[in-house]
């Protein structure tokens, strides 16, 4: 069979992801995470008399720490596989990606293993985050002063 013909056949027989089902799952999971954060924020404002901005920082801190805790001690990866982006996009994914690399490479030495692989997955987020932030800043300064 020719290459092109075979590639067509593969494309035809390979199952496609169920986008609708996945979107609903991700929407619900992400929404629940957001609602959970909002509840904590309101609790912090009402019961601990914090300022709204401080409360938001603490909410983020709680979400990140709990994701790290789950990555280290529970099967967070299995939930990620099931709930997909709904679980990692709400800020929890970044810490999870760093921690999973760290867990994988901690036994390969502090410098050669953990140190050099710490940002294996998150490195691109940091790099392109900084680059895009710079570009948008330039645009803002040039066009909007």
């Amino acid at each position: 069979m020719e290459k092109k013909e075979y590639q067509k056949l593969v494309k035809k027989t390979t199952p496609k992801p169920d986008k609708m089902n996945n979107s609903i799952k991700v929407f619900l999971c992400g929404g629940l995470m957001g609602a959970f954060g909002e509840i904590i924020r309101l609790l912090l404002i009402n019961y601990f008399n914090l300022k709204s901005t401080d409360a938001v920082s603490i909410v983020l801190f709680i979400l990140i720490v709990s994701a790290c805790f789950l990555t280290a001690f529970c099967d967070f990866d299995k939930y990620v596989i099931k709930l997909k982006a709904g679980l990692i996009v709400p800020i929890t994914g970044f810490a999870h990606s760093i921690q999973s690399s760290a867990l994988d490479y901690k036994k390969d030495g502090m410098i050669t293993g953990l140190g050099s692989n710490f940002f294996k997955l998150a490195g691109s987020v940091i790099l392109y985050g900084i680059v895009s932030a710079f570009i948008f800043c330039v645009i803002k300064v040039v066009f909007y002063g």
């Binding site: 075979y6 590639q7 027989t13 199952p15 967070f76 990866d77 299995k78 999973s100 690399s101 036994k107």
Partner: protein
């Protein structure tokens, strides 16, 4: 293509260790199951080495002249470490998931050529070590499509010699490397199916047999979708309709285990061959085709197509 007919080559003894997910009733008489990914060791790499060492301890005897084997880790680390200080000649091989059969073929040829009398073939794979090697960090839980495969954990070895036993190696074919332009590292079934077809056809032509002459044709780790492609290719290109085909990767995990499209790894085929097919008295003439996707993450990142190979041995169970 190199095909060989053998006169008196036998598989005398085999020993297998499998992981916890493989302990689901499909495999029978596995010598040992390990219940976690560490087997009492500190690292997953040490776990794989320990599995291989245990297999070697149970198979090496004073007649063993040569060990041939390999695994999935870089520099076939697990195998080279496990044979360390054994004082037996060692030849490392790598054909990805087809490593075990390539080792058997090499040993059979050495024995047929009367260079040695007895040798040992060994392989292993470990789900977490190959995830770390080829994919993402283990705890990350990277999203995978349904058509990907799950690397099996375990280690298998066997003694091959000229001394008679009830499993005879009849013939073999060393496959060539094929790529039909598939670049998706998750779709190993599609990568390897053309190689399996090519090797099968070459072998059938060489031995002047048809698929009906065998009780079962066992492919390695094509997975459910790859197995379909294998059958489609055979039918479209060669007009062969195959009814006695079993794919080891597709049957090693049960439906409810949710292991994507099936198992993979160099131990997948030998585990099913030794602990399922050979345990079943129904199968006397067995054609085993181990498929290996020779992919390197480096070249996949550089957008190269993934080459694959397949090696084949024909076995006969004597009464």
């Amino acid at each position: 293509m190199a095909s060989f007919l053998y006169k008196d080559i036998y598989i005398n003894k085999f020993y297998s260790i499998a992981g916890k997910y493989e302990n689901n009733g499909v495999l029978k008489n596995v010598n040992k199951y390990i219940n976690d990914f560490y087997y009492g060791e500190k690292t997953i790499e040490d776990c794989e080495i320990k599995m291989q060492k245990e297999v070697l301890n149970n198979l090496v005897n004073n007649k063993t002249e040569l060990i041939v084997g390999g695994d999935l880790m870089n520099q076939i680390t697990a195998t080279s470490s496990s044979v360390n200080n054994l004082n037996i000649s060692f030849l490392g091989t790598y054909s990805a998931c087809a490593t075990f059969l390539s080792s058997i073929i090499i040993l059979s040829n050495f024995i047929q050529g009367k260079f040695i009398k007895e040798g040992l073939s060994i392989t292993s794979s470990h789900n977490l070590s190959s995830e770390k090697q080829f994919r993402f960090p283990v705890e990350y839980g990277a999203l995978k499509p349904d058509y990907t495969t799950f690397t099996c954990t375990g280690s298998v070895g066997c003694n091959i010699s000229k001394y008679p036993s009830n499993i005879k190696v009849v013939s073999s074919t060393i496959g060539s490397v094929v790529d039909l332009g598939i670049k998706d590292a998750n779709n190993m079934g599609a990568v390897m199916a053309p190689a399996a077809v090519k090797t099968l056809i070459e072998h059938l032509n060489y031995t002047k047999t048809t698929v009906k002459d065998y009780d079962v044709i066992l492919t390695g780790d094509l997975g459910k979708y790859g197995a379909e492609l294998f059958k489609t290719l055979l039918k479209k290109d060669y007009g062969i309709i195959i009814k006695n085909h079993i794919d080891a990767g597709s049957i090693i995990f049960k439906e409810n285990q949710e292991k994507y499209s099936g198992g993979s790894g160099p131990v997948c085929l030998p585990l099913v061959l030794f602990n399922n097919i050979l345990q079943n008295k129904k199968y006397k003439k067995i054609l085993a085709i181990a498929t290996g996707s020779l992919h390197s993450p480096l070249l996949v990142n550089q957008k190269h197509a993934i080459p694959s190979t397949a090696h084949l041995i024909s076995l006969e169970v004597l009464k």
